[in-house]
């Protein structure tokens, strides 16, 4: 799905990256509030679902070439995080859904984990 579809499905608000909604395609996701875990396990091109609203979320996404950030639980990303996301060209969205609901809805719509489990490594998630 593209970010525009994701926005509709989750009734999300686009904080920055409006111009990229149609062109950024998302197939996989990783969700965590711990950025060290994101750095360890997330993969390039995935969607990052998090409740962490600091600039480190954006810098972590940039380090890994993550396609977009979705802040859940209705949290507001900090002003500096928004500024850095704009500067680095990373789309930033927010939704009122809690993380579990966000992940469940996106899974139902076809998104899969960027890795299946930590032992499987880069093996893609297929059923």
């Amino acid at each position: 799905m593209n970010l525009s579809q994701l926005k509709e499905i989750l009734e999300a608000e686009v904080i920055c990256g409006l111009e990229k909604l149609e062109c950024v395609e998302i197939h996989t996701a990783f969700s965590a509030d711990l950025m060290s875990d994101v750095l360890a396990f997330a993969r390039s091109g995935c969607l990052l679902i998090t409740g962490l609203t600091t600039s480190q979320t954006v810098r972590t996404a940039f380090a890994l070439d993550i396609a977009a950030i979705l802040v859940c639980r209705g949290k507001e990303p900090q002003a500096q995080a928004v500024e850095i996301a704009r500067e680095l060209g990373i789309p930033l969205l927010r939704t009122e859904h809690i993380m579990f609901e966000t992940c469940g809805i996106l899974y139902r719509e076809g998104l899969r984990g960027c890795i299946c489990d930590v032992q499987a490594g880069d093996k893609p998630c297929v059923e």
């Binding site: 509030d33 711990l34 060290s36 750095l39 360890a40 600039s55 810098r59 380090a63």
Partner: protein
């Protein structure tokens, strides 16, 4: 890449400067990307420098992150003046942490920093003296062995 094309950089990281945590990592990443270093290598360097930067900010007074790129690898050195690590074996265990709430509020401090640096490095060395500081070296190869 020939030896004439080798390049590098050096960055100062200030302790407790939590606001800018990750800035040096972003800057190094942009530089390597612009110089055409393979994307997977750039991502590994970004992770290693990010965690090293967070460690300096969290536990040291001041530190330096150097990187050097030659035809075989990217070498990263992170040196700091600070409290040092009493037990490196323990610090390398996933989940072992002495972090405070400020560090945890940034999404770090869960005992994954050094294990992550080791995981993304092809070669990894760390030396620490309690009360003086820590030096770590990470080598990420740009070509296969």
């Amino acid at each position: 890449m020939s030896s004439e094309d080798a390049f590098g950089g050096s960055y100062t990281v200030r302790g407790r400067d939590f606001i800018d945590a990750g800035l040096v990592s972003s800057q190094i990443k942009k530089l390597l990307k612009d110089r055409g270093i393979p994307e997977d290598v750039v991502r590994k360097v970004a992770v290693v420098t990010f965690e090293a930067e967070v460690n300096i900010i969290s536990y040291a007074e001041i530190g330096t992150i150097n990187f050097y790129v030659d035809h075989k690898a990217v070498t990263i050195e992170a040196m700091d003046k600070g409290q040092g690590i009493p037990n490196i074996d323990l610090a390398l265990q996933e989940g072992y942490s002495t972090a405070d709430d400020t560090i945890r509020d940034m999404g770090f401090g869960a005992g994954m920093g050094l294990p992550n640096i080791k995981k993304f490095s092809d070669e990894f060395e760390i030396v620490s003296i309690v009360g003086k500081g820590t030096t770590l070296k990470s080598v990420i190869r740009t070509v296969d062995k």
